[in-house]
């Protein structure tokens, strides 16, 4: 885990007067999956473009395998899936795959790419005739076909059905297990929770939280209590240490930092209380909380 494949050191990127990336420090190690989370316009895509050498940093340094991201030798170790790839519509899937595989020294075989990306039956189809989800699978195949040591995936599962997403997740996990580093941006927090070793939350061009999924989640102490109860949600909301309380049909949902004390009081005040559930905050709540605090 010690080998750093991608390193941002105090990177600054400005667009005119606005600063898109404001002192970004980030390291990605071999064999880890880093999920880059953040609201739209936070700088995730700009950060990826800097890592790929598509944009030039105005300050700080970006190193890809210890080299400039412009070095072809460095880029031979990466695979890329951007949000819009715009692959030629008149070429067939098999042709696109052959063309991309040829750019790498040790690509996976065509059959392996078909299996890993779920391209069965698509190889003789023209790219422009495919559905959006099928096109995403082709883009994924092109990203992984060169046996990359670092893979950039920018919102990879947008528009995929569940089966295709499962295939992609399975391949992503296998690549990581094999030692490939992956930088993933996603809007789907469950995707980050399911796949990521580390999470970095980026807001206004800065990392505002980073760590394992558990660490980031732990920054949010509150828990969610749900139960069937006849208590007045408005009254519960006024209790000390309750952040919010809402009624959802016959249930009430209480968010609190002191779950044990609140549960005790709920049970004491409502004899008929049932179906009690207590949940830790998910990454989604942590994410909302962290980005709100940073704003």
């Amino acid at each position: 885990m010690q080998n750093v494949v991608l390193q941002f050191t105090d990177v600054i990127k400005r667009y005119g007067a606005s600063t898109a990336i404001d002192g970004l420090d980030l390291r990605v190690h071999g064999g880890e999956l880093l999920a880059l989370l953040g609201p739209n316009g936070a700088g995730k895509t700009t950060a990826i473009a800097l890592g790929l050498g598509l944009l030039e940093a105005d300050g700080g340094e970006v190193r890809l395998f210890g080299q400039s991201p412009h070095a072809l030798a460095a880029r031979r170790g990466i695979g890329v899936m951007l949000q819009s790839a715009g692959l030629p519509e008149t070429l067939k899937v098999g042709e696109l795959l052959a063309q991309t595989r040829a750019a790498y020294a040790q690509p996976y075989s065509t059959d392996d790419c078909v299996r890993m990306a779920g391209l069965d039956g698509l190889m003789d189809r023209r790219y422009g005739k495919l559905s959006g989800g099928q096109q995403r699978r082709v883009q994924f195949a092109l990203a992984i076909c060169g046996r990359p040591r670092l893979l950039f995936l920018d919102e990879p599962t947008v528009g995929l059905d569940i089966e295709a997403r499962e295939t992609m997740w399975r391949t992503i996990r296998a690549l990581v297990a094999e030692g490939c580093a992956i930088v993933l941006t996603t809007h789907y927090l469950e995707e980050a929770e399911a796949l990521a070793d580390r999470v970095a939350v980026i807001t206004q061009g800065r990392i505002v939280a980073a760590g394992t999924v558990a660490q980031v989640r732990a920054r949010i102490a509150h828990k969610r209590i749900r139960c069937v109860s006849s208590l007045d949600a408005g009254a519960v909301a006024a209790w000390p240490q309750v952040r919010s309380a809402n009624r959802d049909g016959e249930r009430i949902e209480v968010v609190t930092d002191a779950a044990e004390a609140i549960v005790r009081r709920l049970l004491a005040e409502d004899d008929s209380l049932g179906e009690l559930e207590i949940q830790r905050a998910g990454l989604a709540e942590a994410f909302v909380e962290i980005t709100r605090a940073a704003a």
């Binding site: 598509l54 990466i78 030629p88 040829a102 040790q106 996976y108 391949t171 690549l175 094999e178």
Partner: protein
């Protein structure tokens, strides 16, 4: 993870990709893309042949005034007109489209050999120019009754195939500057007036004096003069001056186009 071995096959030993193979695949795919774009290949291949058949054969009643042999003169003129298209459209429209849709950006991010894209396009523009030459030459020999020495055929072939280059540069410049929606219109606005004003449709001698005088401003004029000279038809200016003019045009459009494309 027990399924890793099943999902990820072992690597085979080899050090760096075969660049020649990359370029060949790229060129082949560029050819396939053009072939599968009827909007490109039908006008490009059919128009010069159609015009030549119409004006050089069917409507040519043997009015060969003085040194002009109309069938030969038009073979050269429509050849020059024809080979402008693969350069202008092959670069202009497709580069604009590839840039607009993000394909060029994706290519820059991936380790694809940087020059392969333009080299493939260049090779295909020259191939299409050669095909246009062959089509027109076939019409010339079989139905237009054109007789030329082998050296003249060889010269015309060279003019047609190399003459595509300045128009590739102009196309690349347009493709690097405007969006995919605007590119076809702009290229047509360049292509058709340029060929007319350069005397590729009508001899310049049949045009108003003003148009004759400004003709040397147009790159297609210089290509036309080289083509007429190659087949022994009346032309003005020295070969060297025309070649120099075309070289200047090529560099003048290529340099800013490359700069724009490198910036993304």
């Amino acid at each position: 993870m027990s399924s890793v071995a099943a999902i990820l096959p072992a690597s085979s030993a080899s050090s760096s990709p075969n660049l020649l193979r990359c370029h060949l695949i790229e060129a082949r795919h560029e050819f396939l893309r053009l072939l599968r774009t009827p909007m490109f290949c039908i006008p490009t291949l059919v128009f010069p042949a159609m015009f030549y058949l119409l004006f050089g054969v069917l409507m040519n009643r043997g009015h060969n005034a003085g040194p002009f042999d109309m069938a030969t003169y038009m073979l050269a003129g429509y050849g020059a007109f024809g080979v402008m298209a693969p350069g202008l459209f092959g670069f202009g429209v497709s580069v604009a489209t590839d840039r607009d849709r993000g394909w060029l950006q994706w290519r820059r991010a991936m380790p694809l050999p940087p020059g392969a894209y333009l080299v493939a396009k260049l090779a295909m523009a020259m191939l299409f120019a050669a095909i246009i030459f062959v089509i027109l030459a076939t019409i010339a020999i079989t139905v237009a009754g054109v007789h030329l020495p082998l050296t003249a055929w060889a010269q015309l072939f060279a003019v047609d195939v190399l003459g595509v280059l300045p128009f590739c540069a102009i196309g690349l410049f347009v493709g690097s500057a405007v969006g995919a929606q605007a590119a076809p219109a702009i290229i047509n606005l360049i292509y058709l007036p340029l060929s007319f004003l350069s005397g590729l449709w009508l001899p310049l001698s049949a045009m108003p004096a003003f148009l004759r005088e400004i003709a040397p401003l147009w790159p297609a004029y210089h290509l036309g003069q080289l083509a007429y000279a190659a087949v022994g038809q009346p032309s003005t200016g020295s070969t060297l001056s025309h070649v120099a003019a075309l070289a200047v045009v090529t560099v003048a459009f290529l340099v800013p186009a490359r700069r724009r494309l490198a910036r993304g």
